[in-house]
Symmetry: D2
Subunit: 400 residues, 4 copies
């Protein structure tokens, strides 16, 4: 076994079908909603997912027993990029955030009963879900230890109290996975626990849908309040006080699946720019013959190629069963920034067209900016990357 | 006389009053429209301009005979930056694009009658105007020589035919200054002429308002068709065939006034970030104590300070009556990119808040992107800058 | 078969032995010559190569029949990076430029007799060689079609006339592979032919050793004149007029082996910076705890990791027998720039130490700069990358 | 009085004469020493300074009573940039570091007797001097509070003990201004005192000349040991315990004069690149017609113009008698990085020539790198810039 960038045949086939499905079915649907799915239009979601099922590309990340194709992360990397070519593609394949990460978490941590009740309909696209972790300042943001939402013991269960925001997909979700503190206090790690909360629980309320720069996340981002929210013991996901650890189980791969989907966005933006540069004349020639335009185009090719390579590396590490924290931090930081650069350059190449709604670029421009912030802002990842590198260097020296 | 960065007292007074007016009157108005004035809400415009008049800061760039304060460009640089602290500030002072540039052009080129009919009400804020030059591909974009709109001689006047787009403020404007080819054909310079076209002219039609990334330009950006648009000889602005030259008369200063206003935007974004960094705690301290956050904040201070210095330089050159093409190209390119970086960093410092509508940053983020494209994309300016530098170096050598 | 970053066991073993050999034998030799081997000190070279042979890591890229380990490019990527950790490492393993590229070219193109006479002693480290292609302006530089050196037919052979410069390793080389034009004229592609020229040929003269920023190339860079240089027909390497094509045979992999070695340099610089940051106190803590230092260190980790991933990708493509022009251009451009950034940051982290001879960094800083210029400057590669991307986009569209 | 970039006539005349002197006299001297003056060749220095005196441009920064032209900082900005066009220019005008900063400090702080003994011959170019502040880790580097050299009271004087390094110009200097701690201990600010130490003092020893990346500082950079170094009370420069404050008196302007000189270096590098681009043909045209080359050239014009503008701003602030700490930090950080970018781009434009000794660029490339480290590394300045900006924002808010 040695270094290989070969995509195995089954994966290549699914990716090819996904690309065709996106081109022929998904992209034509973009116009209708103008890329804005914050309102969560259910008929569109149903229609797209039926299409994906018909194309044989539905739920590529989920186990067969739940109706999926059980691709490992490397396989997902190839297929999700193809899906991400349209902002609606991952929704169609039922591999969009936050559902995709929740499915993964449930597959790993949930009991059989929880799987039957929550994972099965989620994987089938019958319901949606959300992941309620982030809190407004001074709560849990880029520093999870600041977690302020509290779950306290009741007879036969727990009562959750706290405020969450930027809870993606909450509006319309059938249930939330809510992270609450079960020991310690804000600022010290202590212990967190994950709870499965049905959205008809009277203690959980969506207090507003937040107006954000991006509009491409189905259902948008909400502020959610848990107030005297009572849940039974069976709502505990995994072990009590192990929530921070599970968050990592979810976030490591979830960061990578984000990167996969966004690489598709970058590829889309670059293709728009390439076609425009090939067509548009200026200064006595084609745009594509101007050196500065070539530089923009070449830099984006480089960004996409390096981003994909480093992402595949991280996926391979995770597929080997390693924690791969350094690899995933590097891939997330690099890809999120590279994707932003690619879309920005595509806008520049396309000029006035790039900032108008006549091309998809101004929409993509808005969508990709938050990616440098969520799932850990670049600064938090760089801090972690440097710390690990310094520690490794120190250990290397000590063993000499 | 030697190098000085002293702001003279009168200008400093106007700037101070502008800053207070923006803070006390204009910013509170932002919420109502959420920074979106593409629809051109007239009551808001009237209210803001009355406020500016009351504060003694109305029309700072216009001659006294038209009710203004007759500041030179250096004075404008100081005052427009203060106005630009809110996206609505320039509108309030009646110094927003495109009216401000049109007023300048009319003051320099128009006949007395044209001034009475067009400049006077425009300077007074009674009407708005637009500048119809840019065309969809393959027409005049970053390369003005591609001008495709044509004006042909009729008995006693001209007939204009052509399609324009991204005509800012066209919807609701009382008149357009339309640039049309009067000799030569697309691709060769030939001659262009500027025409004053009343918006009730049946030959001028707004065919759509373009959906764009930015929403802060009063009246938005429209696609406008001139079809058999008949105008009398008195509609000719300046001399026939001198339109490309007048466009430079307009664009040199207009580029600089854009920079002034946008520096105010940058300052606003940076202030939001500074206050957030001072308040928000994370990782056991204030954000403002984290090195990577400090780097973001410091880089933005550097960008604003260098941008302002190089802008003032260009304004001083123009105030000396020089063409200053190299200085204005450098200032436009640098400031437009610096402002973009500053807003981007402010978003990053503020995290989730930065991409939500709870802070003005996500709005500002969308507004500043097009600035690297309009008034000449960065690439066109860099091309011109390099060409002039090479020519100067060659001449220097030849005279040795 | 699917995506894998597994290093096979044999390669891993060779890499481990190389790393130990570099650490224990090569680095201690650095001080003696202070990293400056432009003078080509033969005793040092002999000593180092004997060491490598003893360690079982000599000539990893060469076929077994010539005494090597016959690693494919992926294997070389791993081992050459380990060797590159010292500037003297590749010399020790006999895999330094330009000999390494020449060995590859000879293995692919040379006749059996040529192999016996030139490749065998070269692979064994008995002699050195050079590759005479680059010419001073207006000859062949980043644009090979400008080739001005001419070979003309004589009875029974050829006569070569022309001037070459930046011919690395020429001083002390036993022979040169000289590229000369055999049809067409400068500016049109025409045909070039490669000739094996013994350095005792009276028609080949080293006219000076060029003073360059880097000092780490054994034998330095020379200006070489061919004047009435007569060679027999047996000196033709491969086919007449196929020289431009062979240049690509040599340059594709040679660019990659450069990247491998320089990644080792980057790793070395980063390790120096990491150790310094872990040790040095300032502002009441360790350097490694300061956010801006962490950012420098993290960015370098990202650069190294992404550079390695994209390099391995290109190597895998080449190992599949593909031309991989786009992949090698991307890898060369990215890695050369990434390595430069890593060394620059390491200098900054180390401060005064970084610019002194007390650490290896100021030497490395000088060595890496030319890498963005030779083997095709970044601009030439970007031009080619953009052209290929535009062509591919156009073809994609046409087949839709 | 308002914003002006007018250079007053007297300054313009001195600058013109300086430019001519540099072109006609100084640059021809460069070849002899190949830009390397670390050995401190006295005959060259004498010759150059006689030339400057003859040209009427000697000691432009010093008061007339000491034989200078008493330019304020804005005047120096113009003239020093002209001088800096050659690395030898500032030496010729006797305005090179560290002497120029020492003269300034002595003019402001020294007693009349000290001025007669130290300043007069220094200003006249009869002797050289050095400034002994920086210490090897863990002493005073970018954090001056770490000062470890100690001065202790003796009867009738002081005894200095400590180790200094990177003491520029020490080898060959007639005296040192040594900064030593006179109260408190390393890590707390306490008090430092400046001492005038004659270089024949047996307690002051140059222990080695440090090998550094740059070679353009006359006399190089030395490691200096003070061991039982006895000085009388009259050797105290200014007040006891005020040394940290005086260091700022020296460093504020000294940072700016560095920037002035280095802008000259940048201009030189850019001119070499411009001429090369205008002359050199490649790919069927001149280099100067290639878009990517134009981008490199334009970016450097922008860097120089913005750097000069922000530098002039800081100089004006200092000329008004303000501390201008924020302005000088911004100017130093920006100009040092901009100059580095300009030289790097010039190298790239010139290709092989750029990294050879055939053009001055490879020398300049080495010279400018340390500028981002000395006089406070960019990171230290950014930290200070951010802190001041946050403090100002907080105060602004509190007064609302």
């Amino acid at each position: 076994m040695s270094i290989s960038f070969e995509i195995d045949e089954r994966v290549a086939g699914i990716a090819r079908r996904t690309a065709e499905f996106v081109r022929d079915v998904v992209i034509p649907e973009e116009r209708a909603c103008d890329g804005d799915v914050h309102a969560g239009p259910e008929p569109l979601r149903r229609r797209l997912q039926e299409g994906a099922r018909a194309a044989g590309v539905f739920a590529p990340h989920v186990g067969e027993e739940f109706g999926g194709l059980r691709l490992d992360l490397r396989g997902q990397a190839v297929v999700f990029e193809a899906a991400g070519y349209s902002l609606l593609g991952p929704l169609a394949l039922n591999c969009a955030a936050p559902d995709e990460g929740n499915m993964h978490l449930l597959e790993v941590v949930a009991t059989e009963e929880q799987k039957a009740r929550y994972l099965r309909p989620l994987a089938a696209g019958e319901v949606r879900s959300c992941f309620a972790m982030t809190e407004p300042a001074p709560g849990a943001g880029s520093d999870p230890r600041a977690l302020a939402t509290v779950a306290t013991r009741t007879s036969g269960g727990w009562r959750i109290d706290g405020r969450k925001w930027f809870i993606s997909g909450a509006d319309g979700a059938a249930f939330a996975i809510c992270v609450a503190r079960t020991s310690g206090g804000p600022g010290d790690p202590g212990g967190a626990t994950m709870f499965l909360v049905d959205s008809d629980n009277p203690g959980m309320k969506i207090v507003r849908n937040i107006d954000t720069l991006d509009h491409g996340l189905f259902g948008g981002h909400s502020e959610v309040v848990f107030e005297g929210c009572e849940v039974p013991d069976s709502a505990v996901l995994g072990e009590v006080d192990e929530g921070f650890r599970y968050a990592q189980v979810r976030l490591g791969p979830a960061r990578m699946t984000h990167c996969m989907r966004w690489l598709g966005v970058a590829r889309r933006a670059q293709d728009v720019a390439l076609e425009r540069a090939a067509d548009r004349s200026a200064f006595g020639g084609k745009l594509a013959e101007l050196g500065m335009v070539q530089q923009l185009l070449a830099d984006s090719e480089i960004d996409i190629e390096t981003g994909r390579a480093v992402l595949w590396r991280a996926c391979w590490e995770l597929d080997q069963g390693r924690s791969a924290a350094q690899h995933t931090s590097i891939a997330k930081t690099y890809v999120s920034e590279a994707v932003g650069r690619v879309v920005d350059r595509a806008v520049q190449v396309c000029g006035a067209l790039g900032i108008s709604g006549d091309a998809p670029l101004s929409r993509l421009y808005r969508e990709v900016r938050p990616f440098r912030i969520y799932d850990g802002p670049s600064e938090t990842h760089r801090w972690a990357i440097a710390k690990r590198a310094v520690r490794a260097a120190t250990e290397r020296r000590e063993t000499r």
